[in-house]
Every structure is written in C-alpha cells, then in structure tokens.
Symmetry: C2
Subunit: 509 residues, 2 copies
C-alpha cells in the first residue's frame, strides 16, 4: 500500500482531519487520532487520522473539507499517507495543564497551530480548559495578543490617532455606538468601529446597524470608509482579524467558558489588528450584567489598561450602569429606530443619550480634541446640533445604505403584545436575562423586527392597567411563544415602595 485514493467528504471538522480504513491504519502503524502526513502533487500537510472499519474502503482515504481545500485535492486523486508527528504545541498545552508559565515561543506555536487547523477539537478543548483552570499572567496574555494579531489580517491606517470603543456587553439594548461613533467622527477623530453580531444577546451592534446599511466589508473597505467619512459601524466577522480568537471562542461556547485571559486577549487582539491606537472599554456593571461588583469592574479595567499598555494601545475604561437594559428598545430594528430618533433630536431615553455622550466625550478627550472634563459637553453639542446625524448618514451611505432613512421608515414586528401592571406599585427592576430570553424567543436577532420596548423602568411608579412593556414579533407563532415566556418570567416586576434592602443579599447571588 503505497498510495491511497482520495474520497472527498464534504464535511468541516474544525481542523485538518482524514478518515482511514482500520486495516490500512494498522498497516501504517497509525492509531485512531494519531497524526498522518499526507502528500499529493500540490503539497503536503499533517492531519488527524480518524479510523473506520467500513466507511472508507481499504486503499481509500476519506478527505474532509479543510484538507481538500488546503491541498486542492480532487476525487480519486492518489495521496501518500505516512505516520506524522504530533505538533509540539501539544507539549505546551500539557505544560499549561501542569500549571507552568508559557514562553512567547510556546504561545505563538499554540496560536499558530489553532489558526492553521493543526489541532483537533479534543486538543483545542484541552487548551481552553487548561487556560480556564490554570489562568495566564499578563506576560502570557500579552504574548497571546501578539500571536493572535500576527496570525491574522491587519488594517493599517494612514491617519492617526485611530480610536475605537468596545463594550464587554451583557446588557440588552446596548445600542450606544450608533450615537457614539458619529459623534466622535463628526469631531474629526477617526473611529473605524468593528463590532460583533449577537451570540446570546437579542442584538449585537452589527445586527442593529445592519437594519440601516450593510455591515460586511473588507479590511480595505473599512480603511477607505474610515479615512473618508471618519467612522464605520462594520461587522468584525467580515474581516479576518485575530482569527485564532474565533476558533477559541467556538470551543469555549459549548463549555460556557469565558476565562479572563481569553476575554482580555480577545478584545485587545481584534482592536490591535484593526489598527486601533486609543481604545475606550465600556464595562456595564450591575445585577444581571457580566460584571456585578465594582471591585470586579475595577480589576477588569486595570487588566485591560495594563494589557493595552503592553501591546501599544492606550486604553481607558468606563464603568457604566448595567442593572437594566439601556434605553427602552431591545432588538435590531427597535434599537436602530431608537438610536436614529435620538440622533434626529426626537424623543429618546435619557439613559441612551447620556451614556453615548459620556463615552464619546471620553474618546474626544483621549484623542486630544476636547479638554479634560469638557468631552461630554462637546459630545452633547455635536448631537444637539445635528452634526452627529449628518455624520451618521454619511456612514450609512459609505457602507451602502440609504442615507435618507428616518426613524419613521424603520419597520418593526407587526405582531405585538402588551405586558400590563396587575397592581399599583413601583417597578422593582427590569430583568436583563428575562428581556434577553423573551426577545430571542420572539425572533431577535434573526428577525430584525422582533424585540421589546420597556415602557417603565426601575423605580417608576405605575398604576394597575399601565403598560409595562410591548413585545414585537414578525410571526404570530413567535409572538405567542414570547408572550408565554414573558408571563412566566415577569421581566418587569412590580412591588411596594421598598425597592431595596441594605445590605441587599440578592445582589450577591
């Protein structure tokens, strides 16, 4: 058996994998999940060997998508297979398992192998688990950032400074960037914001912006838009920035892992690769947010600042109120409409305007275009004057959307349900987790028009029969499901005057 016949299997396995017949594997001395080096005319690579007694015949080799794409293999092509070496990065993963610190070279080897699909899911999961248990110190995290940046695409701007803002998220309705970005750009500061789509939330910034304009742009296009109109609101996933990060997050997701070294490296590596020099990080804090206490928030902020310092990004952090949704609207179209109303100078929730301007103000100060302590005032002026709206329309147009759109044009879900107060009292809280779940069941972020408006927020006095919230959906079936869930979860509970008891033990839970 010198050569095997390629049998293409059009399935992505996450890494380089092939499938050998058990007898061929035994003959070759290859045990299931060993490495096999396969060579063909166009080149060679080392893959993980899966073994089957039946699915692939003797003399054949099953080639999964990643491998056939990398080698340009065609059906029936002859392939040479010999035992391969395990990648050295496996030794470094074991070193981390043993609690040892990894060197720059070791971290680079791991990250490179992750990007190159060299590690199997089993091996990648061992890495992620080891990092979650053993942690990494700041030296290691900084080297991880450098490795993640070096192994992906980069955007280099001709202008300076390049600023950006990033929220660690966790609260629904967090559409601040649709105001903050045009405010900053309108003041002549370049802010090529890239953001993510929702994974578990009702709408990511990219989902919300997509209601108004396309968000998938190449690195070249992002650079061009930012250098022309001063800002973007693009989807980070359309650019291959720090691709190791996405591959790591994919494996963390089913394990519900979010280890701090990865959280830090994830944000900073994407921003570094995107050419950002000045970065503001928004840390929403409060019950039901990712960060619940001020001590945690301060520690995380210090870590972001220190990591930024090590890789050459000037970072500041804003700890913001996160115990309830930002503004009233949750869900892509509802949030886009609320943001546009605020820019248009129509009614807008105070919390949205205030947060957006506060963040913009800090960025204007960091970029040196507003005096310390004056940034928020400058931001508010930019919003009030209509300059932010004009800039936002320029951004919409540059990204390929219709700049003449107004908040009245935005379609939201036709099927609605109003949640009503069953007694007199005060709104005790607006439950972030419940709002998120209800909006998602209603169809968000996939159904752009789905979501919720929260009419009464924490502390409001309400009378029996008052409308507390409205659920929007694009189909009656989804509305019914969301309604049933809302009745069970009670996202806007009403109580007596006693809103909080100090000490508030529930806060600690």
């Amino acid at each position: 058996m010198d050569k095997l016949k390629a049998k293409l299997i059009d399935i992505k396995q996450g890494g380089f994998e092939v499938l050998l017949n058990s007898q061929d594997a035994e003959e070759l001395g290859i045990h299931p999940l060993d490495r096999v080096k396969i060579s063909c005319e166009k080149g060679s690579l080392t893959a993980v060997a899966n073994v089957t007694p039946t699915l692939v015949k003797r003399g054949e080799i099953g080639i999964f998508t990643e491998v056939s794409e990398a080698l340009g293999l065609t059906e029936g092509e002859l392939v040479k297979a010999i035992p391969g070496e395990r990648p050295p990065s496996l030794q470094y993963i074991k070193k981390k398992m043993n609690g040892q610190k990894l060197s720059k070279e070791e971290i680079y080897a791991i990250i490179k192998d992750i990007v190159d699909n060299t590690l199997s899911d089993i091996e990648l999961s061992a890495y992620v688990t080891a990092v979650a248990i053993r942690g990494m110190d700041m030296d290691e995290i900084a080297e991880m950032v450098n490795a993640m940046v070096d192994t992906g695409e980069r955007i280099t701007f001709d202008k300076s400074p390049i600023v950006d803002v990033h929220s660690i998220g966790g609260i629904p309705g967090n559409k601040y960037a649709l105001l903050t970005v045009p405010i900053v750009a309108a003041n002549g500061v370049t802010i090529p914001k890239t953001s993510s789509r929702a994974i578990t939330s009702p709408s990511g910034i990219a989902d919300t912006m997509e209601v108004l304009a396309p968000v998938s742009h190449t690195a070249q296009k992002i650079k061009q838009i930012a250098e022309t109109v001063g800002g973007t609101l693009a989807w980070g996933g359309s650019v291959n920035l720090a691709p190791a990060d996405d591959k790591i997050i994919r494996v963390e997701y089913p394990l519900s892992l979010d280890p701090k070294p990865q959280v830090l490296a994830s944000v900073i590596s994407k921003k570094k690769a995107a050419g950002v020099e000045i970065l503001l990080i928004d840390i929403p804090m409060g019950k039901g947010a990712k960060v619940e206490t001020e001590d945690e928030a301060r520690e995380l902020a210090q870590d972001f600042i220190e990591l930024g310092r090590r890789v050459g990004i000037r970072v500041e952090c804003a700890i913001t109120y996160g115990s309830q949704p930002l503004g009233r609207a949750v869900g892509p179209a509802l949030e886009a409409r609320e943001a546009l109303m605020a820019l248009e100078g129509k009614y807008a929730p105070r919390s949205l305007v205030e947060k957006s301007c506060a963040l913009a103000g800090i960025l204007l100060e960091m970029a040196g275009v507003a005096e310390r302590g004056r940034g928020k005032y400058v931001a508010e002026e930019t919003l009030r004057s209509g300059k932010a709206l004009s800039k936002f329309k320029e951004i919409i147009e540059a990204q390929g959307g219709n700049p003449d759109i107004t908040s009245d044009d935005i379609e939201v879900g036709k099927y609605t349900y109003d949640g009503i107060a069953w007694e007199d009292g005060y709104v005790q809280m607006v439950n972030n987790a419940a709002v998120t779940q209800i909006c998602r069941i209603a169809g968000a972020p996939k159904d752009k028009g789905a979501g919720m408006i929260i009419w009464q927020k924490m502390g409001s006095q309400v009378k029996k029969g008052d409308k507390l919230y409205t659920i929007y959906a694009e189909s009656s079936v989804k509305l019914e499901r969301a309604k049933a869930l809302a009745q069970r979860l009670n996202p806007v509970p009403i109580g007596g005057m006693l809103l909080k008891r100090i000490p508030d033990y529930s806060y600690m839970a």
Copy 2:
C-alpha cells in the same frame, strides 16, 4: 420549517451529532455546537448541532452514523428539530474544573452521558483535562468505578473465588500471563483473564495469545470457558465491560494523558465488571517503565488496594523489575513461542519463569490453595510437572485454537537482521522505549511475526562481534526501516565495567 428531511452521513463523530443548514439553525435559534432535540417516528434524542452554510441544504438535516443508528433513521425521512437542553453533566464537568469534589450522582451523570454518546469530543476533552489537572479523591474514584460498571455489561460466575492478574504494563515482552494463567487454573482456581491489545506497545497479552487461539469471545463464552477449564486468555475489548473507560481513553490518547484517577478506575472497573473477586496487580518498576521509583510504586499499590476494598475486590500488588524487557522475546509470535517453550520445559529465560511463577504463587496464596510463603514453590512445581502446559492446551482448545501446537510450529518473521557488538564490554541497559519503537516499525503487533529477540541483557559481558539482538519482520521494507531505526537508537548499548554511578542522575531524567 416544521420538519427537516434526513440526509444520512455515514461518518462516526464519537457522539450524537447532526448537521444543520446555517439559516435553518438561525431560524431555530440554534448556535453552532448547541443541543438540538430531534424526533422521528421511532423516538427522539438530543444531539450536538453542527452548522454549515452549504453542505446541507435548507430544509435538510445531516444525520451522522451514531444518530441514524440510534433512531433507525432512513434517507429522506422527516425529522422534527427543536432547540435542546445542554446535559446537566456539563455543569458537573465545570464543577470539577473549579476544583470541587463531585458527588456520586454527579459522577454517575457524567459517566452515563459518556456511555450514551451525549457528550461531544470538546466536552469529553474538557472532562478529561479537568480530571487530569484537578484530580479526584478516593471517594470520587470509587463512585466512578461503580458508575462505569453499572453502565456496561457484567459477567457473573457461579463459582468462587474468581481471581485475575493485571499488569499496568509499560515494558516490552511482558508475556507472563501465558504462564501465570494456566499455572493458577491447573491448581483449581478460576482465572478468567481478560486483557488488552497493544496500543503503543509491540504486543498486548491479547495479541500474543491470538497467535495460538482466537481471543474475541462473548461474556457468556468467557464465563463458560472459565467455568469449564478454569481459565481464559481473552481480549477484554470483545466484551462491553465498563465501556465508558474506552471512550475516555480514546480522548486521553491524543493528549498523551494518563491521569491516575483514570488509571485506577480503568483497571478496577473492568475487573469488577468481569466478576473478579481477588486481583493481583503487577507494577513493573524501573527506568523506562511507567513507574520509575519505589515510592511511586508503593503509592500506586496502596491506591489500588484501597480502591479495590471500596468496591469489593481484594487486591494485592507485586512490584516487579521493569528496567528492561521481560525475557528475550518481543512481538506477538516471538513472545508466544517463548512462553510455549517455557511451558514445554525447553529453554526459557529465567526472568520470565521467575516472574510468572511469583505472580501465580501470590494468586494461589490469595485464593487459599497454597500456604503463605509456599505459593511460588507450588507454581514452579505446576510448571515443572507439565500440568501448566496441559492446562494451557485446554485453554487454547476451549478458545478455538489447535491444542497440539508446539513452540516449533510458530512462524516468526522471515526477514531478520542481527545487531552486533562493535566492541568488548558490558551491556549497560536494554532500552525499553527503543525496543518498543523498533518492534513497532518492524510491524508489530499487526504483523504477528515481527519483533525482536534480545540475546544479551543488562550486565552481560560481550565480545566484539557477539550478537546483541535480532530484529524480525514479515517484509524486507519493514525490516530495513527497523534496522535503520535500531542503528540510530542503539537499543542495547555496550560500555565499560562502570554500569551505574551512584547517585545516578540520568535515572532522574
């Protein structure tokens, strides 16, 4: 989209997995690697959802082998898919990651989910990694054994006591059981030995025995043979004993993990499921063996004894010399021939006879058929008298082999190469790892006739030109490869009279 059309994908993924079109997945609110509950006429199960933009069309669902087999699905059959719950065992895996002790119920849930294919490779790897890092205490290990036994097949004997012997392995040529089992059985003690095939060694006991008789037998057949002739030398893999163990080992293998809790549970669970009441564990100790120091060996022995006590098996341990191969022969046919020669009373290496009789003697004492201190003598007598050979022939016949076979009948590899001493001196060591690698490159264990004979062992005085070892192979290509490796690795190094320096720093490496 109410129902999806099944598209069968004949690939084993290790667990229950399906493949959804990205748009269908988004519609269903299912993120890659989320759970999806799928139902059809014959039943329902929860699988891990992989997501693809292209490989499966909208309205289709790719069904991997484990799922189609479990549900009896046919091509094109309609399947209902809804978001599924993550298994609670994931929470317990995270608990172990956090360093907490797991309860009986939590361990059972994890093991049950492993056996039922409920966990993906990513999740299983996180479990294995967490156990490797955090460890388990004896309470947890005992509960793991119970769970592993309860979730698989069991053999129940009508006779008592049932004894067995197990070597933790690590040294090549370890064919002792081909002598020990018939010696014990010839003394009226029931010893239904199940053993493994080689994974990384040149030959497992099952591979060696297979030269003489079939080793794949059902639980029913093992029981019947053991109760009739008193002993078996069967392949444990042919019986579904503690199947969780095999699934865990599969994932440990690519990570080169062998955490102690799993080593202990693996051995004891298989033996418990096999109905064993009295167990002797052989711990080869020495340079290049799995256990290198006496402290380690003693600690491991205590752990085995304690774990046995907790699950109702009387365990004793034998720490044996493991710094070089046992006997001279390494490789299935060569080992079978050497064992048969020893049983026939022909020439046999002293180390093989002595170890086999020592282990048999301990078992005879434990079973109460020899007085304390007399077991080895009884065993030697059984061997010398030919009773062990007769019993071995009965076992060969009962397993379906030819009882008239003699050591002269056994075919070994036709292609041979002799390693020669290039100078006068003393054999400094026989390198276990080098011997293993050379034999495997020569074709063992797949090529039964491949392997090595070590003519000169540690401490032997040799003259230039003396034969040190012979490599056997079944093809000239494999012989050439093995020869080249042997010349590089020098498995039997010669040196001056100074065999060891105390303290021996190389020993610590």
